[in-house]
Symmetry: C2
Subunit: 207 residues, 2 copies
């Protein structure tokens, strides 16, 4: 027996998570009290399942994230540009359509940096698992024999600048674009970045 009363526990957990998901959707700030109330659970119990409102919000946001499959890329063919387009148009654009949860994740990781800033190197949580990098790498696979290894690595990193949560924040808050304009810029930025890398690769690179 794992430990009696498994159903009860998963039920409460789901109720809490679901409540948090609803609140996140509404852009509400993290609040254990509010989530607990909505989940018809006492605050004390809520804290037994999630260490803090932040944590709950973060998990709820993750819940609102699409579980993209790497297939989209291969489905786009062998042309790196087309593959990159596919990534940006599916994931990148989706982020622009669903800003809130992604902003939550961005905030969470930023906050974590400050919290752990002064701490010893060990005793740190695996901050972010950069899914983004995998997508970029996968999209650029066909370039393996056209570009030198280090250039590809740099390009993968550079593309991480162009689409993703932070890009959403930049395009919306800094550039003050509406969602449609932001999508256009994001896509063009990705295309330009790739094209530029291909064009400049022979000449100057690095500082």
């Amino acid at each position: 027996m794992a430990s009696g009363r498994v159903n009860q526990k998963t039920r409460t957990r789901h109720a809490l998570l679901q409540a948090a998901v609803d609140l996140v959707r509404q852009g509400k700030p993290p609040s254990m009290a509010e989530a607990a109330e909505l989940a018809l659970v006492s605050a004390a119990t809520a804290y037994r399942y999630f260490p803090s409102a932040q944590a709950l919000w973060e998990e709820a946001s993750l819940e609102l994230t699409e579980p993209w499959e790497l297939d989209v890329i291969d489905a786009a063919g062998e042309d790196p540009a087309a593959r990159l387009d596919a990534v940006v148009q599916s994931i990148g654009w989706h982020m622009l359509d669903e800003e809130v949860p992604y902003r939550n994740l961005a905030r969470a990781s930023l906050e974590r940096w400050f919290r752990e800033a002064g701490l010893p190197e060990h005793e740190r949580v695996p901050v972010r698992e950069a899914r983004r990098m995998r997508w970029n790498a996968k999209a650029l696979e066909p370039l393996r024999d056209q570009l030198p290894e280090p250039t590809i690595d740099q390009l993968v990193n550079a593309l991480a600048l162009v689409w993703g949560t932070e890009a959403v924040v930049v395009l919306r808050d800094v550039c003050r674009l509406d969602v449609e304009e932001a999508k256009r810029v994001m896509l063009n930025a990705a295309r330009w970045m790739l094209e530029g890398a291909l064009a400049l690769t022979s000449t100057e690179v690095v500082d």
Copy 2:
């Protein structure tokens, strides 16, 4: 008479700000109490000058920001690439060297977005004054007659993705690069973006 006792007030204000600046430099989390103590001022007084610890920290971070002059750009000559390099190498790289205050500003503006998310359109603070855009626009001025207006606008926005606070966060946290690698990628990303825009401008643009 503006309102007696002006000196006294500016003195306390400066003391507080200076204390906060020191604490920000050390990466300390916002704390009115700590800043007040360091400034030899009571907490109550501190709150008379700044509405919250967050606000004080934000202003202190702004203080640690370099007051860059647009001159750097013209000094780089007429070549857009060189002008862009100048911007990235001065401002962008500086941000990588002085992460803390910039991260503070990023966090502050992100938090503000959430705080004001549910609010009526009016009653909002002018969130961010995008200095970044001005720099990019200025750097690209020589392109005025080579590229169509809308393309330049898009490029200005796209470049905002490549260098700036959010770019610092991406390169350091998501890509997990050390400062030197991050500098190289940031510079190359900017160069690629420009080159790509020049190369693709005639063919496909926008979605």
